[in-house]
């Protein structure tokens, strides 16, 4: 696949369809891959990489890149949903992007590899359904399924809702049953347990803003938390309340727009399961207002900017299961 992608990228650069290519650049230790913009065939030949560690969602870069000129982007299904949502919100100039859908078999999570006690990594190779991890302390072999990122274990779709061309086989939507298991587990707890859980998680937050800055739905010119005139700007959570405030408002602002790409959880240096906040909104929206998938198309109205006369009353929250 990587070679096919490189070939197509070079062709499209050569025939002038695009002037730049968004992809992924190799790193120091195999796993530390950075998203990158390539401008010529030589760079692509030397640095372009596509493997199990290319987890970063590149859709958000297209806001900036599409304003500069014609650009090619390779999109995983996740990225394509995000892309479509950005198109719906007029954030990306469709005519300036050439989108190639690429299949995704799930991305590996280096932290899950390291959590198995593997460190001193010098290189990683894919070997069928396993990875061989070379380290200075010796080689280790881990099963692919054991180290896939959480978001990939509950992948929502292998389909690309938007693309100009596809490389490889187009996939299908996958059943949602497992995706909300984490949310359901929390819902089944008592309020006290939930409070303790979230306090434990959110108190780890260092307000590095990685979750926000990586999020393809967080595309505000100036975030309310950075805007001193908003009345709620924060540079750091000076009180646990501010940790709650930031994460509630952030989740609320992307509610109905979040495509559940899972980047927030991936980038969190403190491993806070931020996707559980976004997925709660997705689950509530699905249950209360009918299944809705942001980025599915650019016509269906965002559930937070639409309504029906018979919508549930807010009191529905009080009536739910156990407290």
């Amino acid at each position: 696949m990587q070679e096919m992608m490189k070939k197509r990228a070079m062709e499209l650069l050569a025939d002038g369809t695009v002037t730049r290519v968004i992809g992924w650049r190799r790193g120091e230790f195999s796993y530390d891959i950075s998203p990158a913009v390539f401008e010529d065939a030589a760079q692509i030949e030397r640095d372009f990489v596509w493997d199990a560690f290319c987890g970063a969602n590149v859709s958000k870069y297209l806001i900036r890149e599409s304003a500069k000129g014609r650009v090619l982007a390779f999109l995983k299904p996740c990225d394509a949903f995000s892309m479509n949502q950005l198109l719906a919100e007029h954030r990306v100039k469709r005519e300036n992007v050439y989108l190639i859908g690429i299949p995704c078999a799930g991305k590996a999570d280096i932290d899950r590899i390291k959590a198995r006690g593997i460190d001193g990594v010098t290189g990683i190779e894919e070997d069928g359904e396993a990875f061989v991890v070379h380290t200075i302390y010796g080689d280790e072999r881990v099963g692919r399924a054991d180290v896939l990122a959480e978001r990939c274990l509950v992948c929502k779709s292998k389909r690309h809702p938007v693309y100009d061309e596809l490389l490889g086989e187009e996939g299908e939507d996958l059943p949602d049953d497992a995706r909300f298991a984490g949310v359901e587990k929390l819902e089944a707890m008592t309020a006290e347990e939930r409070f303790a859980f979230w306090r434990g998680e959110l108190s780890k937050c260092i307000r590095c803003n990685a979750c926000r800055n990586v999020c393809p739905a967080c595309t505000c010119e100036n975030c309310v938390f950075d805007n001193p005139d908003s009345g709620i700007s924060q540079k750091a959570a000076a009180d646990p309340f501010e940790e709650n405030m930031y994460h509630i408002i952030r989740a609320f602002h992307v509610a109905g727009r979040c495509t559940d790409c899972g980047e927030c959880s991936r980038v969190c240096p403190e491993h806070i399961p931020l996707h559980l906040l976004n997925r709660k909104f997705i689950k509530d929206i699905d249950e209360l207002y009918g299944t809705y998938r942001a980025g599915e198309d650019d016509e269906t109205k965002n559930p937070l900017t639409s309504f029906t006369e018979g919508d549930a009353e807010p009191a529905v929250v009080r009536k739910r299961g156990r407290a």
């Binding site: 919100e89 007029h90 954030r91 010119e221 805007n227 965002n302």
Partner: protein
């Protein structure tokens, strides 16, 4: 540092009895920024207002907080006062320490403490107020009256008299409404048609009035002074401009068994018909549900007899779009369906009728040409029982909770007229209360009882049972005599409750005018603004606002016209400056705001921005039309970046109030 003035009103004892106004003024005077804080018995009085004006001038105040009654009451008064003293009127905030404090608390200390907190919240807000200037919009000098009953007719005539063009939209083929169906009118016993039809003709002849009969309003957009309405002109299959109302077609039409709605189905009309002799416009209409030509293309008689070629079987609905400065709702009422009260046997017996049916039975143009005959056998009834409060004054489950107001009087009229015309008739009226406030009303009722010998019995009817001999057994109670009665009646007349027209609810939604739980339109103020809806530019005429009789309807209709004329005589309207606005530097053009705007006030522009690095960037940004925006604020919450904010109720102002209240 801003300089604020605080003015605490006693409202006589309304506030001062429960709130220690001096303590409030003193406590608020200690707040930073407050340079003057004082109290006064009536702030809204002229001397009270002068006190405020003097303080504004003397201390060069930047803002004013008035602790008084609800801002819904005197906000405008104080804003005007501030403006007169040279302060922007939007630099005034009201702390509601009457309705929301002194009147609901008994404990003086508690109420005083709360008043101080409310005052602090107002201070916190006013510190963030910005001077606002209202925009202006032109006024379309044309009014739309929806409903062509006596209310709509009177309103339209009055507006037209003042020189403004008016359109009357009437859903039926003729104007006239319910009053056209009445026989006589209380308490003077004028013939309804005699006093109504001249007004109908006036409408037709007034060059400022256009009657859009057999039409319905489909869509209303815009705002006060600038409404646009789409009006569906339903196909009547007769060219209105050609028909002379000669009636030839209605005589020749072979379809004769169409229930005549004007006579409430008690006789028949043809498939092509003119509703009644004095109809305006006097134009025939073909009923497509009955016309053979329209149903299966066979017949065409009417077309053949029409001398002016007015019949047009191919006519279709058309939609007219027109601009208006003001809209009047005059949608009137309907009697409720009485079949749900099984005990009165309305559905079983033809001789149990409603009062409106009784009107038609006694009317010279009615099915019996004015002779009172039983619908079942056409015989003269000798015993008539009138039952009051059918469906009125009930629990919501049983009927209408309100008094329908007109039944006592029209029943007295019916009873009296019956006794006068047919002295051999026994007339009983079963009542719970007889309510006759109104000029010459009680005298009228007493005449019925005293001079005409109508039997008024306090008590309700429990059951009406048709008997084998064709009479009706009326089982009732006489509460004065404390006995149960059985009356063998020939005719039973039910004073059915009246309810707003079914079309009113849809119209209210279109007009964004509010309604009460009974579907009567809500007035802007029950006492002081009774003919205006809370939605600017929407006015209320007649029973659509609440039950009323003809004299009351006509006076309200004229009052309504006066309000409309007042509006239309202005060339420009000053808008509400508390509208949304978007910070273009923060807006990312996502369209969330536009998708929640009920007025379509938000559009998007591709705009060039000079960036700090001196490059130019084209960005898609939202732009609010302040004349269209009504200031609800839905967009401000839909906007994730906070680019959208609302003047007068900005994020920071509301949060400042929250802070002040919670601290």
């Amino acid at each position: 540092m801003q300089k604020l003035g605080v003015f605490v009103c006693h409202c006589g004892t309304n506030i001062a009895a429960t709130v220690d106004v001096k303590a409030v003024a003193e406590a608020l005077g200690r707040e930073p920024s407050v340079v003057v804080s004082t109290d006064y018995p009536y702030m809204c009085s002229e001397s009270g207002q002068n006190l405020i004006k003097d303080a504004i001038r003397e201390h060069s105040l930047d803002g004013v907080v008035i602790c008084s009654c609800s801002p819904r009451m005197h906000e405008n008064t104080f804003r005007k006062a501030a403006a007169q003293a040279g302060l922007n009127p939007y630099m005034v905030e009201i702390a509601n320490i009457r309705e929301q404090c002194s009147w609901i608390h008994k404990d003086r200390e508690e109420a005083t403490e709360k008043a101080i907190v409310l005052g602090r919240a107002a201070i916190a807000k006013v510190l963030l107020n910005t001077p606002l200037t209202a925009g202006e919009s032109p006024v379309t000098k044309r009014a739309l009256v929806i409903g062509g009953g006596i209310a709509g007719i009177q309103t339209a005539l009055d507006i037209a008299e003042a020189g403004f063009p008016v359109d009357i939209v009437e859903k039926e083929p003729t104007i006239g409404g319910k009053m056209a169906q009445l026989d006589k009118t209380f308490p003077t016993l004028d013939c309804a048609a005699c006093i109504l039809t001249p007004k109908m003709v006036d409408c037709a002849q007034n060059e400022n009035i256009r009657i859009l009969s057999f039409s319905e309003v489909e869509e209303v957009t815009g705002f006060v002074g600038n409404f646009t309405a789409k009006i569906r002109r339903k196909a009547r299959y007769v060219d209105e401009t050609k028909c002379t109302g000669c009636g030839l077609c209605t005589e020749k039409c072979p379809v004769k068994k169409v229930p005549n709605e004007f006579n409430l189905g008690m006789d028949n009309r043809r498939a092509v018909y003119i509703p009644f002799a004095q109809a305006v416009p006097k134009v025939a209409r073909i009923d497509p549900d009955w016309c053979n030509m329209l149903k299966n293309g066979k017949c065409g008689l009417c077309s053949k007899v029409c001398t002016v070629g007015a019949i047009d079987y191919k006519q279709t609905d058309t939609v007219l779009e027109e601009h208006y400065g003001a809209i009047v709702a005059a949608t009137g009422y309907e009697p409720i369906k009485v079949d749900r009260y099984g005990e009165y046997a309305y559905a079983q017996s033809k001789d149990v009728i409603t009062s409106l049916e009784f009107e038609r039975l006694t009317n010279a143009a009615g099915p019996t040409s004015g002779t009172l005959l039983r619908p079942s056998d056409g015989r003269h009834p000798h015993t008539i029982v009138f039952i009051q409060c059918v469906g009125s004054r009930c629990t919501p489950e049983m009927g209408k909770t309100y008094c329908s107001k007109i039944c006592c009087m029209y029943t007295a009229k019916h009873a009296m007229l019956t006794r006068e015309k047919y002295p051999d008739t026994d007339v009983y009226v079963f009542y719970i209360d007889v309510r006759t406030p109104g000029k010459n009303f009680d005298e009228f009722y007493r005449r019925a009882a005293e001079e005409y010998g109508v039997h008024y019995i306090k008590g309700a009817v429990g059951k009406v049972m048709p008997r084998a001999d064709g009479t009706l057994d009326v089982q009732a109670s006489d509460l004065i005599m404390n006995e149960q009665l059985h009356i063998n009646a020939d005719l039973v007349v039910l004073a059915a409750a009246i309810e707003p027209s079914k079309t009113a609810r849809r119209l209210a939604t279109m007009l964004t005018a509010s309604m009460d739980t009974n579907d009567f339109f809500t007035e802007a103020h029950p006492k002081l603004r009774p003919v205006e809806s809370p939605t600017a530019g929407i006015f209320l005429s007649g029973v659509c606002q609440g039950p009323k009789d003809i004299p009351e309807t006509v006076s309200q209709a004229s009052a309504c016209a006066a309000k409309v004329i007042g509006l239309l005589s202005k060339n420009k309207l000053t808008g509400n400056p508390c509208v949304a606005h978007s910070d273009e530097w923060m807006c990312n053009g996502c369209s969330n705001c536009a998708s929640v705007c009920p007025y379509g006030a938000i559009t998007y522009l591709d705009k060039d921005f000079r960036m700090p690095d001196r490059s130019t960037k084209t960005r898609r940004v939202a732009s609010v039309n302040p004349a269209v925006c009504q200031g609800c604020g839905a967009c401000t919450v839909a906007c994730p970046s906070g680019a959208m904010d609302l003047y007068g109720f900005s994020n920071s102002q509301i949060m400042a109030e929250v802070d002040a209240i919670c601290k």
